[in-house]
Amino acid sequence: MERETIARVAKVARLNLTEEEMERYANDLDDILNSFSVLDEAPAGESYSFNPIPVIDVLREDEPAQDIDPQALKAQMGTYEGYVRGPRLS
């Protein structure tokens, strides 16, 4: 795997990799993807679905309800005047 590719993947995934890690993961992914090339021999399926069982038309009615106190959730987060604090935007 090209250094450029692994660097790009790490950037998209928001991971900082050292030079050593970059090389190690590139090698591992190479090994793994090479062995996965057996998939190319599998017949191209006509249909696919995102679950192994059919899950169809499961809907929730439009009724507002909150069974957990939002204060308990806020307590988990760092808030200021009710707002969740976050990092710089630019």
Partner: protein, 444 residues
């Protein structure tokens, strides 16, 4: 000039798209739960009402609707996005290849899909170094995204499209009135060959300004023999200019995958079974065709009230359409607050019919209608002054309306709306419209 729009409207539900948190306004981070905060262990469940509203819109826009759809995860990192992925629709929108008739011109609709809104960020701190304060009340609010073909030819037309679309969707599925201000739009615009995307414009006014600026900018570049660069720009609301968005925003790889937590939806059947309400503009068009009345009159009727239009259609069964028009837009709409009671309709029909057949004269007919409404004629006459005062008082208190009216005559609607509401139906809509126009013209 070619303009295409990606519009996002909030769907009128009481609970969010994937959790049951309320959509009503609240203190920051009050309408939240593990699902819309993306807490580990939570998972989404789709709101039936949102799906149905989205499907009615797709059908109303005459879209092609597939038999099955699913949702997708669009992964990108931003502080307002609790899961750092947004659940949206990618390969399988609710509808594709539809259209909307804008003043007789067919505007293509490429797709209609559902997605969740991220949270809302309050920027705090010095310009250029702002940090994010996030309110996740909006996280998971159901949005419908409607994407048009680049069939629009001017900023005014883009604005008109949204204006009319909002009117229609409001009555189709109860879209809220505020949506002209809250509609979020990504627009692409090209004067020459290359197109530029203007992202994340909030509200109709900003949109028109952003598009004007961008059209102007591109025209100047081309006139000077320069090239327009294909890029993403953002609209700066303060300075009223578009600026080039930084590169990183365009290079994100969303890595779409299917959302396995929701399963699939067989929307074909669901869409066919939906009963669509007739929307105002579609109804106006039908009135023009069926009864031969003028387009302006037809619009005035349907925009006043659906039930008034019902009465109009009822009257048309008994009297010539022009008589039905003059009665419904005249004394009947003037006292609509009382006369909308359907128990009174048979009497109204008889009075108008008797008048039309010459059994009674106009004055007597009007007296009977008014007495049906419980109004003494003297009071109604005296009301004339009251109307003028109502109008001029409002304009005195809201000078900005006059300024707006100079640019766009539609600003008159603000005054008309206010007066109709205040007078509680004492005056006919025709009287109010004429009164307001006269007063505004006088002052301009």
């Amino acid at each position: 000039m070619k303009i295409g729009l990606e519009m996002h409207f909030q769907l009128p539900t009481r609970s969010k798209l994937f959790c049951s948190c309320p959509t009503a306004p609240a203190e920051p981070n009050h309408n939240v739960c593990p699902v819309c905060l993306g807490y580990p262990g939570s998972r989404p469940a789709l709101n039936r009402k949102a799906l149905e509203a989205g499907l009615s819109i797709a059908r109303f826009l005459d879209c092609k609707i597939e038999e099955r759809v699913w949702f997708s995860r669009k992964t990108y990192f931003y502080p307002d996005l609790p899961k750092n992925f947004q659940i949206t629709q990618y390969e399988s929108p609710l509808g594709t290849d539809g259209h909307f008739d804008l003043n007789g011109r067919r505007i293509g609709i490429w797709r209609v899909h559902l997605e969740e809104d991220p949270g809302r960020i309050k920027r705090v701190g010095r310009s250029g170094e702002e940090i994010a304060f996030v309110d996740y009340n909006r996280s998971g609010i159901p949005l419908v995204e409607i994407v048009t073909a680049p069939d629009l030819t001017s900023p005014e037309e883009a604005r008109a499209l949204i204006d009319q679309l909002v009117t229609e969707l409001r009555s189709l599925c109860g879209l809220e009135a505020q949506d002209e201000q809250t509609v979020r739009v990504d627009a692409n615009l090209s004067v020459g060959e290359e197109r530029v995307e203007v992202k994340n414009v909030q509200g109709l006014r900003n949109l028109e300004k952003a598009l004007r600026f961008e059209a102007n900018r591109q025209s100047k570049l081309l006139a000077a023999g320069k090239k327009v660069v294909r890029e993403t720009r953002r609209f700066d609301e303060e300075r009223k200019v578009t600026t080039s968005a930084r590169e990183k925003e365009t290079e994100e790889d969303y890595g779409y995958i299917g959302e396995p937590d929701l399963g699939e939806f067989r929307i074909g059947e669901m869409a066919r079974n939906l009963e669509l309400k007739e929307t105002p503009l579609a109804r106006a068009k039908r009135l023009v065709a069926s009864f031969g009345i003028g387009e302006a009159t037809a619009k005035q009727l349907v925009l006043t009230s659906h039930s008034l239009t019902d009465l109009f259609e009822e009257l048309c069964l008994h009297v010539p359409p022009e008589r039905a028009v003059s009665w419904t837009t005249g004394p009947i709409s003037g006292n609509w607050a009382v006369l909308q009671d359907q128990a009174k309709w048979p009497d109204i029909v008889r009075i108008v019919k008797d008048d039309s057949e010459g059994l009674i004269n106009d004055t007597e007919a009007k007296r009977r209608i008014l007495s049906l409404a419980g109004v003494q004629q003297e009071a109604a006459v005296e009301g004339g002054d009251g109307l003028g005062k109502l109008i001029s008082d409002f304009i005195d208190e809201h000078p900005e309306v006059l300024a707006d009216y100079r640019k766009n005559p539609k600003a008159a609607n603000t005054v008309i709306g206010h007066v109709m509401k205040e007078s509680k139906g004492r005056y006919s809509s025709r009287e109010v419209v004429e009164g307001v126009r006269k007063e505004l013209e006088k002052r301009v």
